[in-house]
Every structure is written in structure tokens, then in C-alpha cells.
Amino acid sequence: MNLLFDLFLTFAKIGLFTFGGGYAMIALIENTCVEKKQWITHDEMMNITVVAESTPGPIAINCATYVGYKQKGFVGSLIATVGMILPSFCIIFAISRFLDHYLEITWIAHAFQGIKIAVGILILDAAIKMLQKMQKKPMPRAFMLCAFAAMLLINIFHVRISSIILMLTCGLISLIVFMVKKPAAKGGAGK
């Protein structure tokens, strides 16, 4: 089979059968791309997981782009990424045409009264899981707590401060601390 077509089909299948995104997808991608298709090695897969941690965007998209590029360069990465997105795009687009209509039905509206509470719980749970994996050092803790407090106040008082500003500020402070510390450490070693 044509490799490009195979890439497209394989990632479309992964895109169609993985729910919730994120790490749930890694197992399926590993199983397909490493074991069955042997497009990348296990080490490469581990590597891309680490890279995905440090780059924005869903890990599934990152994997698709990487595997596509490794197999067929730029065109391959494009095809694999589009394949990954296409199934959910079609499904969500179809839902978006009807959701308003469905919400007018009484029992579905009632169901969503319960569902909206579940969403809050899921987001809280995702944050707790990330907290458990976070380095237990004063600096990350301080950043986390400041961002938590700031974001909560922003939400409660409906202040128009973007969370992107918060992230850039924390990144910048961390960078400055690093740059101030580094020459100091070198000076200390020289004595």
C-alpha cells in the first residue's frame, strides 16, 4: 500500500478510537506505530513523549507529526496530522449543528445539569494528577500557588487578564532567576 495512504489511514483510525485525548492515546500509538508498523522505535516513542511534555499541543498530534515526518518528510507529517484530526473534526462538526436543538429537549437539558458538575471534577482531577508529578521544590510550588491564586481571583472577579500573561510572567521570572543564579554559581566555583 502507498505509504502516504497508509499513514493517513492509520492515524485516522487512531483519531477515531481514542477518547479524551492525552495519555490515553499513547498506548494505542505505541502499539500501532512501534509494534505493528515499525515506523519508529520504542526509544523514539519515549523521546517524543518527553518532547511533547515541553511543547504545546496534544501529545497525539505531536506523535502524528513526528511519525509522519520520519516516514515521508514534510508531506508525511502533514498527511499523518490531518488524518489524526479528520475523524473528530467530522464528528464534532456534525454535533455542533444539532447540539442547540437537542438542549431544548427537557431530559437532555437535565442530563447536562449533572454533566457540567462532572466536568469541573474532571478538570480538578487532571490538575491533582499533574500536581502529584510536579517536582517538590520551593520554586515550582511558589509558581503553582501564585498562578492558582491569581487565576482564581481573575475568575471570581471577572478580570480581563489572560492566563497566557500569567504563563509568560512565570516563564520570564524563572528565566531571570536562572540567569542571575548562573554567574553567581560560576563566581562561587572560581574562589
Binding site: F17, F19, G20, G21, G22, Y23, M25, S54, P56, G57, P58, I61, T65, Y66, Y69, S77, P87, S88, F89, I91, I92, F93, I95, S96, L103, H110, F112, Q113, G114, I117, A118, V119, G120, I121, L122, I123, D125, A126, I128, M130, L131, M134, M139, P140, F148, A149, A150, M151, L152, N155, S163, L166, M167, T169, C170, G171, L172, I173, S174, F178
Partner: protein
């Protein structure tokens, strides 16, 4: 123009969506609420729908918001914009800048950025639980949202004590739908 706004808004989301599946939710809330594309209620519903349908949540939300604002063209533009940054960054990292992520300055910036993201997601979760659970109408607090919050929270976190992985997010959404129908409908 709406298409341009959609593109700019979701490009921003795509650039800063660190932190996995849920990392993009606070950013999308920011963008969607500030442009007034959806209200918080509708966005929350859509997060549940995105969790219950295949594909990454961030991409699903972009498709939905785009479609609700400008039809098929809007959904294409928003989806493209949200994926573009990570696509370009992965290409750059694999093709040209193999050591860029190991650069100590990049690492130092990421060390500040990531915990900040965790704080933001935590605050979003806490805020949503408070807002949906504690509803004041007139001078009385509604009892049903409060009960739902406690029951669903107890089931979800309590199930971990019984089984190692507890119940899955999709199962929680199904349970919450049934609980919603039971509390409000019966």
C-alpha cells in the same frame, strides 16, 4: 472579521497549550469568554461532549467554537489555528533544532511555565466546581447542585479506593447525566 478573530484566538491557544488534554481548557475559556463567542454554561457542556467523543479535547473545542461562530469555514479555520503551532514546533524540533529543548535557557523558562500551568488548571477546576455546585437564587442556596457535586465527587474519587484506576472520565460523564436526569426530572 470573525474568521480572522477565530484564527488569532485559537493560534494563541495552540501556542500555549502546555499540560496535556486539560491544559488548553483554561486558555480556551479565556479566549471564548473574552470574545463573547459562547457563555460559560455552553462551553462547559461542550467540554463534556469533547471528552465523550474521539480526538484531543483541544481540537474538538476549536472545531465546535469555529462552527458555532462561522459554520464549516469557521470550524476549519479554528481547527487549523489550534494545531498549527504544535505542528510547526514538532517539525522544527525534529528537523532543525534537535537540541533546542535541551538548551538551559529554554529549560529554565519551561520550569516556570509548567508549574504555572498546573496552578491555572487547578484554579479553573476549583472555580468551576464552586460555580456549578453553589448556586444562589434570590436569598436561598439551591440544594440540588450541591448534592450532585458531593455525590459525583464522592463516587469519582471514592472509586479509586476500591479499584486502582477508579472509574473512567467517560463513565463519570454518563453517571452524571443519569444523576442530572434523576435529580431534576423526577
Amino acid at each position: 472579521m470573525i474568521l480572522l478573530e477565530l484564527f488569532a484566538g485559537f493560534l494563541k491557544v495552540g501556542c500555549f497549550a502546555f499540560g496535556g488534554a486539560y491544559g488548553a481548557i483554561p486558555l480556551i475559556r479565556d479566549v471564548v469568554l473574552s470574545y463573547g463567542w459562547l457563555d460559560d454554561e455552553m462551553l462547559t457542556y461542550m467540554i463534556a461532549v469533547s471528552e465523550g467523543t474521539p480526538g484531543p479535547i483541544m481540537v474538538n473545542l476549536a472545531t465546535y467554537v469555529g462552527s458555532s461562530q462561522a459554520g464549516i469555514l469557521g470550524s476549519l479555520v479554528a481547527t487549523l489555528a489550534v494545531v498549527l503551532p504544535s505542528f510547526i514546533i514538532i517539525l522544527l524540533v525534529t528537523a532543525l533544532l534537535k537540541t533546542a529543548l535541551k538548551n538551559p535557557y529554554v529549560q529554565a523558562a519551561l520550569r516556570g511555565l509548567k508549574p504555572c500551568m498546573i496552578g491555572i488548571i487547578l484554579a479553573t477546576g476549583v472555580y468551576m466546581i464552586i460555580r456549578n455546585g453553589i448556586v444562589i437564587q434570590g436569598s436561598a442556596m439551591l440544594i440540588r447542585p450541591l448534592i450532585l457535586t458531593f455525590v459525583l465527587g464522592a463516587i469519582y474519587f471514592g472509586s479509586r479506593k476500591i479499584r486502582k484506576n477508579g472509574i473512567s472520565p467517560i463513565l463519570l460523564i454518563c453517571l452524571s447525566a443519569v444523576a442530572g436526569i434523576a435529580t431534576y426530572g423526577l
